[in-house]
């Protein structure tokens, strides 16, 4: 489904990687490994279309993502380093509005269920500005319980999470993959995730 062909990334005047090619299909998990600054986040942003590759291209269903942006984006859920939460809105409002923006209709009950799934339901009505780093991360991740997108691109999803939340999230990603989804993940922690097939891409600094 998702294919990368000969990708190269240049930031400033540094070449981070080149000739990077891979392909993933339904049910597969792709780990992107590498040291800090090796270009993991840049690669993920490139796969989303936020960053244009210096060379090569990204294909979704054999079509370049640039040419079919709207169709591709409807199939994509991306979560970067930043949580995308508004400080003045409550956790629940943030979650609901975020989902509506990506074209899903979400009821309050289903949004609450999503917050409950990752163990943050008691903060549902608190404004995001009073939440801790880990709590904010959980609110952002709760969107994965609402997402029907087949492709998940997650940048360090386990960072700032406690042991329990990490397990819950790993189980959710496993469930997504078992249902025919795809996931691309960077992580410095070794979290076991059940998948039909697991690939890794290593970037060296």
């Amino acid at each position: 489904m998702l294919k990368a062909q000969g990708l190269a990334c240049v930031r400033g005047d540094r070449l981070l990687f080149k000739d990077l090619s891979f392909a993933i299909d339904a049910g597969s998990l792709l780990y992107v490994l590498g040291e800090n600054g090796s270009g993991k986040s840049s690669l993920l942003r490139m796969l989303c279309g936020l960053l244009l590759p210096e060379q090569g291209e990204v294909l979704w269903a054999d079509k370049p993502i640039k040419a079919n942006a709207e169709q591709y984006l409807a199939n994509l859920k991306y979560l970067g380093h930043l949580n995308g939460l508004k400080d003045d809105l409550s956790a629940l409002e943030n979650l609901q509005m975020g989902a509506r923006l990506s074209g899903q209709e979400v009821t309050e009950a289903s949004a609450l269920a999503a917050l409950n799934a990752i163990g943050i339901a008691r903060c549902a009505h608190l404004p995001a500005r009073v939440l801790s780093q880990g709590q904010k991360r959980r609110v952002a991740l709760a969107a994965l319980w609402l997402s029907a997108s087949p492709l998940w691109i997650l940048d360090e999803p386990f960072a700032a999470l406690d042991v329990q939340a990490t397990e819950v999230l790993a189980a959710r990603i496993g469930e997504h993959l078992a249902g025919g989804g795809m996931a691309i993940i960077t992580s410095h922690q070794d979290v076991p995730i059940k998948a039909k097939s697991t690939f890794t891409v290593s970037l060296s600094a």
């Binding site: 279309g49 936020l50 984006l73 994509l76 970067g80 995308g84 939460l85 923006l101 990506s102």
Partner: protein, 222 residues
């Protein structure tokens, strides 16, 4: 698409409502700047009413200016801009919701307050109406053009001043036609020509600015 557009609008308005002090800053700035002139120049009605169109329009322009750098800055630093770019809708359309929210929060209050300030300048009744119409037609342009500047200077240090340098020259046509409309009506002529030109500038920027803003946002995020 409509749902996503309304969500963006609602989210921005809800945030503005929860941070009412930000709206107050813009309004107080407008009130104070435009009230300083009568105090500094003296209470001569003939002098005041002849400088009124220019002073009020420049004050409205600067008041809209100070809130511009906030239009995308928070979205940029908290990551919601990335999510906006990744929404499966045309970015240029979603951007219009943000611009409309900015105008409703920073432009419309100035339009509504302007006739009160106009009284300080001994403006006749008819000129007050023309002032309101001209601001109503002209202030959307300020938000539209301002959005391009705000998007271009995202993540740049000292962006507030840079936005002013980029955007103020582009405000000149709006200023000329807006202040001109009020001045012609003071002289007993019809302001229709000026108002039509203002509307034309607004429509032109409505077509071009969202596309330019969307392109600038993509560059800034990269």
């Amino acid at each position: 698409m409509k749902q996503a557009w309304l969500t963006v609008l609602k989210r921005d308005l809800l945030q503005a409502y929860r941070r009412r002090s930000d709206i107050a800053t813009t309004l107080f700035f407008f009130v104070i700047v435009s009230s300083l002139f009568p105090l500094g120049i003296g209470p001569e009605p003939a002098v005041l009413s002849s400088i009124a169109p220019g002073v009020l329009w420049v004050a409205a322009l600067l008041a809209g200016m100070i809130s511009l750098s906030r239009m995308f800055a928070a979205d940029f630093s908290d990551g919601s801009l990335e999510q906006l770019l990744l929404a499966p809708q045309p970015l240029a359309v979603l951007v219009t919701a943000k611009i409309l929210a900015h105008w409703l929060v920073c432009g419309l209050p100035v339009v509504l307050l302007a006739p009160l300030i106009g009284l300080q300048y001994a403006l006749p009744n008819e000129a007050l109406w023309v002032l309101v119409y001209s601001l109503l037609l002209g202030t959307p342009t300020l938000s539209l053009i301002g959005a391009i500047g705000a998007a271009l200077t995202l993540g740049v240090r000292g962006s507030g001043l840079l936005v002013a340098l980029l955007v103020l020259p582009l405000y000149i046509p709006t200023l000329i036609f807006g202040a001109g409309a009020v001045a012609t009506s003071q002289h007993g002529m019809s302001a229709e020509a000026h108002l039509s030109l203002l509307a034309a500038v607004s429509l032109l920027s409505l077509v071009l600015a969202p596309v330019a803003t969307a392109a600038a946002l993509r560059i800034s995020v990269e």
